[in-house]
């Protein structure tokens, strides 16, 4: 009998160390043949110009629940050994790490697909909101990108990709 996958979510203001997260995800186990990781960074510019900083707000409690639900859905779709999401909140600057997704599985196809699935649904469902401050000092809430919605909809046919 195989152990259930280890699923974890952390929402934090502090920066994170990618190599430490990847080591923790493996946790010394021997079954993993593949770990796929994604790191998202704050871009230095948006459509309306260069960015000074951004403020990330979230819904404490619901954020964690929402991402846990996404990880659980991924784990029913692919044979995962472990999956973890770390997402930052608060004030971030261009070049800062904002989100990390790590997925461990026996094989690379499941790890790649689940990592992408988790990130696509996180962008569409997890209650975070970005407010950007441009170089001129005006702060503005970020609008939803239609292609983020389209990317998540690719997984809707409910068949493992």
């Amino acid at each position: 009998m195989t152990a259930p996958p280890q699923l974890a979510v952390t929402v934090q203001a502090e920066d994170f160390e990618v190599s430490a997260l990847q080591r923790e995800l493996l946790g010394g186990a021997q079954e993993e043949g593949a770990v796929a990781c994604f790191t998202g960074y704050v871009r230095g510019a948006n459509a309306s110009g260069s960015l000074q900083c951004m403020e990330l707000e979230h819904y404490p409690g619901m954020t964690e629940r929402s991402i846990e639900g996404i990880l659980a859905r991924a784990a029913t779709r692919w044979p995962l050994l472990a999956a973890k999401v770390v997402h930052r909140i608060g004030r971030l600057r261009p070049g800062d790490q904002i989100v990390w997704v790590g997925v461990a599985s026996a094989h690379r196809d499941a790890a790649f697909s689940a990592c992408e699935f988790i990130m696509d649904y996180l962008k569409n469902e997890a209650p975070f909101w970005k407010k950007e401050t441009g170089s001129q000092g005006a702060a503005q809430w970020v609008d939803v990108r239609t292609d983020d919605r389209v990317r998540a909809a690719r997984w809707d046919d409910d068949k493992p990709a």
């Binding site: 707000e57 819904y59 997402h87 904002i98 209650p127 975070f128 909101w129 809430w141 983020d148």
Partner: protein, 84 residues
Amino acid sequence: MIKVLFFARVKEELDCACLDIAWQADIADLDSLQAYLCRRGGPRWQEVLNRSNMIRAINQAVANDNARIDDGDEVAFFPPVTGG
């Protein structure tokens, strides 16, 4: 009591993060509560809460349709999410 939370742009536009509303049978579903908040808050609340892209959640789960609210529930109104 119903705990009502507002986030991001909605919170700023209403200048309100959180409200405690006494539970009553005539506001015991999302549409009725929303209508009550609009009556109570006036035109600005009406304009903001009735936006077509408004997301509503009960007890930290998104409600796509009208849904029942029980005494003690947490209800939230927020704009489309932009994390990641």
